[in-house]
Amino acid sequence: MTMRDNEPTTAPATPHIPSPAEMAAEVMGGHKPHASPAVRSFARELGVDLALLQGSGPHARITFADVKRYVRSVVASRR
């Protein structure tokens, strides 16, 4: 049985191809807090979970100041 030639004649419906953002989220296992490696290292030293923070930088990037502010607020709340 011969198959008909299958060169696509009508323009194929364009499926949604996963964007790099979607792929990054998938491959790396979920949505990561937006922070630089240096801030990540700083947060790790202080034992801060960045997932709990709201960033104040562009695109809600978490800054050093955000981490410090968070630590201060936690410490203050424990007093």
């Binding site: 011969t2 198959m3 008909r4 030639d5 299958n6 060169e7 696509p8 004649t9 009508t10 323009a11 194929p12 364009t14 499926p15 949604h16 191809i17 996963p18 964007s19 790099p20 953002a21 979607e22 792929m23 990054a24 989220a25 998938e26 491959v27 790396m28 949505h31 990561k32 807090p33 937006h34 922070a35 630089s36 490696p37 990540r40 290292s41 790790r44 562009p58 695109h59 809600a60 990037r61």
Partner: protein, 901 residues
């Protein structure tokens, strides 16, 4: 596949074992992921670039990887919607496919052994069709695109021309049957089909290198305001196997450096060469991607067809991409020679991949197509390529060799040579492409054509009309320009005067200067050099006409302020190719065919080191002949003994034997300045004024000697052109010889005439023979003419005509192998006279000219000895006289034959 292989590893996190601080790694990668997600891939790219730059600045040696993933460069959701009616185009293409097969099968039906190729075009049909329908503007008038068609795909181009009414059924049946006229050449050959084909491409590798230089020559024409070439493109189709030829890739760096954004390569990556896979153990597309990107090209990969898109949509984890990358070309080939079940089992081999196609039938899987067979993907790639600025583009299109041939050829190792298909295969081909051929008619292999009032025919015509006419159409001539009369070269005709010595190279350069100042031709001259201008005394031209460089001259040349400084400029005239004979030859061909490709007569003059011209680039010279080139090739520093000192690899004693093999190449080995002038002027007459498709090869010398004025006489100029003229008659005498010579060795013959007269009382007539090759051709033609017209008044060859009234043996000496002057032996009058040829057979070596001429036995003493011996053999003098000459001139009778040492 090893996790450390940089090309194949798509896992983002390196193996723990090789990672000294996984926590730190994780933080960096998490940070990057967040940037990709929150800000976007462009920002992520910028950061990565900054990191790499920082690395470079601090001296970390970061190797550069120029490959991307094994997927299409243009993602499905960024691909423009292709205009056109693709159902109609598919029907048209199916007919083209059939006709291309039918013509090859018909040509081989009767075991005539004519050959032909089915599988190459089968893999390339869609690549061509998208170009024909949507991109290529006709160059019939020298204003369109120049398309270098892959040679083995010629049947597809014929099939299309046939359907458009450009070729008849009879011509189709004469594929590879050209001798009786009205035939179609096996491959693109402008010599054989001068109104049809523009570019010969089938000597593998010559298409690509010529296309690159063609594209740059377009920029030259534009910069010099000789032709507006804005928007015109050069398209070059080549095979992936063809890329192994050094010529294919040898100039891609130049194309990148020169930013040839008018150049598009389409490489048909069907993964197969003649005998087997191109890169069974690797990936030709990835290899070519890094080669081209590293050379500054824009690379567009068209690997996968539209049917894969829905799988890419599901591939959020990158498993499919990873599998695509790790799978080998040899295995990809095997996949397409099997079926859907095999493909499912061997390609979709992990649970994740199996899940992707779990609800697909084997037929669905088999339908997964390659990018080069998808007109939508190709349109997107071609469109991106034509709009790309600042770089040449290469499109790497993955295809299947023998596409559509089914079990009898598709993706089989034997497919390239296949020129027969059994009835069952044909039947399934007909079914597959839905062709209107009844079973009973299959054996007769009917050609298919759409009626002129059919939508398909109208569509084809409308597409071509909107693109300016047919692609397969070649312009043959332009309006002739006036050429200077011989008198314009007066300075060369009257000689240098007593005591003034110079070389024929200098004479040629003077002729070139005159032409550069000529009102009509000056601008049309294209001097081409390969870094040897100073060798030939041409450096004065640098300042006067400048070296062309698109970028001008941004630096201060070291010799700025000197009289002939190294001047590069945007409107410069010289093409300086560096040490690059193949490139210069490709340049020369582009200029030498500009009358056809641009409709502008140009006159290229390529001056090379004669040993590195014909011998080094002979295949391009042959292609130049095929292409009906017009221009001058100048072999400088020629002659085995005249170029002293340089030795074995440099001393040319055979380029004239090679040039003689090209039928439309006219070769000369002149001795004197006036000969150069006569030859150059006549070349202009033939090539420019009369639009003859010939080109000239002149060897010129670097030996300085006196140049006499041109001898008086009505026939001298005409005889120079025929290749032999009377330079000086000896006195009347009982003993006479005829001395012939060319180039520098003719001066030795002149000296021998003196020795013969003074030492031995023998008079000599001197004949300068600027072209033994033209003499031989005239002899061949005469002989043939007489053979075909028995009983008619016989024609007489020029050599015979010159020598018949003379007396005495004939001695010829040149700076070339004996074969060169021996060509005229049959035309020496058949009156019992000896014809003795001296030449420089053997390997050259370093020494003075005198020593070398003695070594090769072509100097005045050896000529004298040869003349005396010939007289003795003819019984005119005793042999003891010849023996006396050996003693007198100190010649060693036991000297080894020069060819043996």
């Amino acid at each position: 596949m090893s996790a450390t292989s940089p090309q194949s590893d798509t896992a983002l996190i390196p193996a723990i074992a090789t990672d000294a601080d996984p926590e730190e790694t994780r933080e960096w990668l998490d940070a990057l992921e967040a940037v990709i997600e929150k800000v976007g891939p462009e920002r992520a790219h910028y950061l990565i670039e900054q990191l790499i730059q920082m690395g470079h600045r601090t001296g970390i040696n970061i190797p550069y990887s120029a490959t991307t993933e094994y997927i299409n460069t243009i993602p499905a959701d960024q691909q423009p919607k292709a205009p056109g009616n693709y159902e109609i185009e598919h029907r048209i293409r199916s007919y083209v496919r059939w006709n291309a097969i039918a013509m090859v099968l018909r040509a081989n039906k009767d075991d005539s052994g004519l050959g032909g190729h089915i599988a190459s075009f089968a893999s390339a049909a869609t690549l061509f069709d998208v170009g024909f329908n949507h991109f290529w503007r006709s160059n019939a008038e020298g204003n369109g695109d120049m398309v270098y068609i892959q040679g083995h795909s010629a049947p597809g181009v014929y099939a299309r021309a046939f359907m458009l009414g450009g070729l008849t059924e009879q011509q189709m049946d004469n594929f590879r049957r050209e001798v009786d006229g009205n035939g179609l050449s096996s491959y693109p050959h402008p010599w054989l089909m001068p109104d049809f084909w523009q570019f010969p491409t089938v000597s593998m590798g010559l298409g690509p290198i010529q296309a690159i230089y063609q594209a740059r020559f377009m920029k030259y024409m534009q910069d010099r305001e000789l032709k507006n070439t804005e928007g015109r493109k050069v398209w070059c189709f080549c095979g992936d196997g063809e890329m192994d030829e050094p010529e294919s890739m040898g100039a891609i760096g130049m194309a990148g450096r020169e930013k040839l954004d008018n150049l598009i390569f389409v490489i048909n990556c069907n993964l197969q060469r003649l005998d087997g896979p191109v890169r069974g153990n690797g990936k030709i597309i990835q290899e070519l991607e890094s080669d081209f990107r590293g050379s500054g090209w824009n690379v567009i990969k068209v690997v996968w067809g539209s049917y894969w898109d829905q799988l890419f949509a599901k591939d959020k984890q990158g498993h499919l991409r990873q599998r695509m990358m790790e799978y080998l070309d040899g295995d990809y080939q095997t996949l397409r020679a099997r079926d859907g079940a095999y493909l499912r089992e061997h390609f979709f081999n992990t649970p994740e991949l199996q899940a992707m196609v779990a609800d697909w039938s084997d037929e669905d899987i088999w339908r997964l197509n390659r990018g080069g067979h998808d007109p939508h993907k190709l349109f997107a790639a071609y469109s991106a390529a034509t709009h790309h600025k600042g770089q040449p583009t290469v499109i790497l299109a993955k295809t299947i060799k023998g596409y559509g041939m089914g079990g009898s050829g598709e993706a089989q190792n034997i497919t390239h040579q296949q020129k027969k298909m059994d009835t069952a295969s044909l039947k399934s081909f007909i079914e597959r492409f839905d062709l209107p051929i009844a079973d009973a008619d299959i054996e007769s292999l009917p050609y298919l054509k759409f009626a002129e009032d059919s939508p398909e025919f109208k569509y084809m015509m409308e597409r071509r009309q909107s693109l300016g006419g047919f692609v397969a159409k070649r312009k043959r001539r332009v309006d002739p320009l006036p050429v200077p009369a011989l008198a314009a070269f007066d300075a060369l005709l009257k000689g240098g005067g007593a005591g003034r010595e110079f070389s024929t190279t200098m004479a040629f350069v003077r002729a070139l200067m005159l032409l550069l100042r000529d009102e009509a031709l000056g601008k049309r001259m294209v001097p081409i050099v390969v870094d040897e201008s100073r060798t030939f005394g041409m450096e004065g031209l640098f300042r006067t006409i400048g070296i062309w460089n698109q970028e001008g001259q941004k630096y201060t040349p070291v010799d700025a302020g000197e009289y002939s400084f190294y001047k590069e400029s945007k409107n410069g005239q010289i093409l300086q190719e560096g040490i690059n004979e193949a490139g210069a030859m490709a340049d020369w061909i582009a200029a030498a065919t500009a009358y056809s490709t641009h409709g502008v007569q140009m006159l290229p003059v390529y001056v090379f080191y004669s040993m590195f011209g014909m011998q080094r680039t002979m295949d391009l010279v042959w292609a130049a002949g095929d292409q009906r080139s017009r221009g001058f090739l100048i072999g400088g520093t020629s002659g085995r003994t005249t170029l002293n000192g340089e030795g074995l690899q440099h001393e040319d004693g055979h380029s004239h034997v090679l040039s003689a093999t090209v039928p439309n190449c006219i070769s000369y080995d002149p001795t004197f300045a006036y000969e150069v002038a006569v030859i150059v002027q006549d070349g202009l007459r033939r090539m420019v004024a009369e639009q003859q498709d010939v080109f000239y090869y002149l060897t010129v010398l670097n030996e300085n000697y006196e140049h006499p004025p041109m001898p008086e006489g009505n026939d001298v100029a005409a005889d120079i052109l025929k290749g032999m003229y009377s330079f000086r008659k000896g006195s009347e005498g009982k003993l006479k010889v005829q001395l012939l010579g060319s180039g520098a060795i003719f001066c030795e013959a002149m000296a021998a005439a003196e020795l013969l007269k003074n030492d031995w009382g023998v008079e000599a007539d001197l004949w300068s023979c600027p072209s033994f090759t033209e003499l031989a051709r005239d002899g061949h033609e005469t002989e043939r003419q007489n053979r075909l017209h028995p009983g008619a008044t016989p024609h007489v060859a020029h050599v015979t005509k010159c020598l018949a009234p003379t007396q005495g043996p004939v001695i010829a000496a040149t700076d070339y192998v004996r074969l060169f002057a021996d060509q005229i032996r049959p035309y020496i009058p058949h009156d019992g006279r000896r014809y003795v040829v001296l030449g420089t057979d053997g390997f050259g070596r370093s020494d003075t000219r005198e020593k070398l001429r003695h070594f090769f036995e072509v100097d005045r003493y050896w000529i004298t000895l040869a003349a005396l011996n010939a007289l003795a053999d003819g019984g005119e003098i005793p042999h003891s006289t010849a023996a006396a000459a050996i003693t007198k001139y100190g010649l060693d009778p036991n000297k080894p034959n020069p060819t043996t040492v």
